[in-house]
Each structure stands twice: as structure tokens, then as C-alpha cells.
């Protein structure tokens, strides 16, 4: 009887350890965003995770996949992010100059007060579409670790290139324009 109890206890212990390994493997396999930028910058063009978020300036929702057929510059920002302030006018300029070629600049405001984000958009006269993700649930899928980050998507919704940090230096802007050319002509 005692040996049977011991066998059951050993079975339960082994089962628990096996369950922990399964959970570890699952979490590693489902770390979708972790290597998205790396894969994109290697030239793999991974699919951009889809999302549906409320527009910042109106009570309507926007789904990323509804922009298929257009190239997208997805910029993750927040009103409290200092480099975002320098980057915003450049993104607005891109939107105004390239929208006729089938480019959409899409701002994703995350981990921010909605009212602050609206003030930011007003101060920098942003006219490109903005979506709001207060809890920041979406950005984990993109592997975003800091603000701002920018992803250039081609017309099929695949990530052409990812930029960690602001696209404020001349080198980054040359790379961004080159990625946009590649995305628009896809």
C-alpha cells in the first residue's frame, strides 16, 4: 500500500515537471513579437500581426488588415516620449507627400492618456490616422520594447523593415525612404 502511494506521488511529481516543460515550450513558441524586427531586417518579410483598435480622434475602429493593398508606415508612439516629438513632424510630412502613391502613415499611441495623445496630435497638426491602445496589448505582438518604433509594411501586410528608436537621423531617414520605396512598389 505504502509503495503504491509512493508510486502515485512520484507520478504526480513527474507529471507536474512535464507540465512545466510544456508551459515553457508553449511560451517560447508563442513569443511572436520577440523576433519580428530581426526577421524583417533579415529580409524575411514576416506578416505583421493584425489588430483592431479604436481611432484616437473618433469613436470608430480601424483594423490593420483593412489597409491591405496599401503600404503602411506603422509608428508606435506616446505623448510622453521625447524623441516622438521630433519624429512627428517628419511623419506628417511623409504622409502628406506620399499618400498619393498608396502610402498610409498609421500612428499607434500606446501606454498613454488618451487626452494627452489628442493634445499631442493637435500640437503637431497630425492628420494621418491614429489609433489608441492604452494598455499596450498590441505592441507585445510586435516585440516593441521602447518608444518610438516604426514598422514599414508592404501592400500585402508584411514587414519590410523595423526601426527601433526615432527615425530622426539622416541615415535612418534614408533607410526609411528606401524601405518605403520597396513597400510601395511591392
Amino acid at each position: 500500500m505504502a509503495s503504491r502511494t509512493r508510486l502515485v506521488a512520484q507520478g504526480v511529481a513527474i507529471g507536474l515537471v512535464a507540465l512545466l516543460f510544456v508551459l515553457l515550450a508553449w511560451s517560447l513558441l508563442h513569443d511572436k513579437g520577440g523576433d519580428l524586427a530581426k526577421r524583417a531586417n533579415r529580409g524575411d518579410r514576416p506578416s505583421a500581426p493584425d489588430f483592431t483598435l479604436e481611432r484616437l480622434d473618433e469613436h470608430r475602429q480601424l483594423t490593420l488588415s483593412s489597409l491591405r493593398g496599401k503600404a503602411v508606415v506603422l509608428n508606435v508612439w506616446a505623448s510622453w516620449c521625447i524623441p516622438c516629438k521630433d519624429e512627428a513632424p517628419y511623419l506628417e510630412q511623409l504622409w502628406r507627400s506620399q499618400r498619393g502613391r498608396g502610402l498610409v502613415v498609421l500612428g499607434l499611441d500606446a501606454k498613454d492618456f488618451r487626452a494627452d495623445a489628442r493634445r499631442f496630435a493637435g500640437r503637431y497638426d497630425l492628420t494621418f490616422p491614429l489609433v489608441y491602445d492604452g494598455p499596450g496589448n498590441t505592441i507585445g505582438d510586435y516585440g516593441v520594447t521602447g518608444f518610438p518604433e516604426t514598422f514599414v509594411l508592404d501592400r500585402d501586410g508584411r514587414v519590410v523593415q523595423a526601426f527601433a528608436g526615432a527615425v530622426n537621423g539622416e541615415d535612418e531617414r534614408v533607410r526609411l525612404r528606401s524601405a518605403i520605396e520597396s513597400a510601395v512598389s511591392s
Binding site: 506616446a78 510622453w80 516620449c81 521625447i82 501606454k111 498613454d112 492618456f113 488618451r114 494627452d116 492604452g134 494598455p135 499596450g136 496589448n137
Partner: protein, 148 residues
């Protein structure tokens, strides 16, 4: 008399609780809310968003909001992850119940093991072997001869 003292004490405690709910304390709230960027409590963070949240809390306190109203407003902006303690309801209840269940399960397991071990009989001492009567007699004779 004792009953009156207990009632008075409970009344005072209730009044104290009511007073703290009416005028929330910024420092308390900062220790109960999490910075969504650095994921530490607000009182431990100097991140820009944490500073903005602290300013928001002070403004809402000045406007006369209750602790719960302030928490609700921040949850509406940043989601339930902004609360340092999970809510004691819905899915958040699991975070409270699971450690208690694990603790209870562990206590039961320890109790069962202790009971089981205490029931084990101590190993029986070897019985004294009785000598054969003939040998015993011989030993006695030898001892008597030795004493003599």
C-alpha cells in the same frame, strides 16, 4: 459593557475607513498602481508616464474623486494591469485563491505525512533468548564454583 466597547471600536474603525475612502492619499495610491512602461509601482518609478500618472492622481484628489474613482479612471486608460493587486473578483480572484489553495494543499499533505509517520510502529527490540534449562543449570554451577 464589553459589548458596548466592541461596538464603539467597530464604529471608530468604520469611521476611519470611511474617512480614508473620502480623502484618498496620493502616496497610498502610488503604491497600489503600476507604471505601464517600467512595471513597478508608481512610487518606485520616475518614468515620464509614471510622473504623468502621479500628476493625474493629485489632480483627481484635488477635484474630490474617491480612491475607487481614480483607480477606475486609470484602469479605463491603461487596463486592469495598472492595478498592483489583482481585483478580488472575476479572473483576478484566481490570483488570490490559488496561493491559498496551494497553501491548504501543502498543509494537508504535511498533516497526512506526519500522521502516517507517527503511526509507524517502532522497530521491535530483539527478544531475550531464553537459555536452555540444561545450559542454564551448567552456567549456574560454574558461577557457584567461581564464587566459591
Amino acid at each position: 459593557m464589553r459589548v458596548l466597547v466592541v461596538i464603539a471600536a467597530v464604529g471608530l474603525l468604520a469611521l476611519g475607513g470611511g474617512a480614508s475612502a473620502a480623502t484618498p492619499n496620493a502616496a497610498d495610491l502610488e503604491s497600489e498602481l503600476v507604471c505601464p512602461v517600467c512595471e513597478t509601482t508608481l512610487d518606485q518609478s520616475n518614468a515620464p508616464i509614471a510622473q504623468r500618472m502621479k500628476a493625474f492622481i493629485r489632480a483627481r484628489i484635488a477635484a474630490g474623486d474617491s480612491e475607487q474613482e481614480i483607480k477606475d479612471a486609470l484602469v479605463a486608460q491603461f487596463g486592469p494591469e495598472v492595478l498592483a493587486k489583482p481585483p478580488a473578483g472575476g479572473f483576478g480572484l484566481l490570483a488570490w485563491l490559488l496561493p491559498l489553495a496551494a497553501l491548504g494543499g501543502g498543509a494537508v499533505a504535511v498533516a497526512v505525512l506526519i500522521r502516517k509517520w507517527s503511526r509507524r510502529r517502532p522497530p521491535s527490540e530483539p527478544e531475550e533468548e531464553s537459555l536452555d534449562p540444561q545450559i542454564e543449570r551448567l552456567v549456574d554451577d560454574e558461577l557457584a564454583r567461581f564464587d566459591a
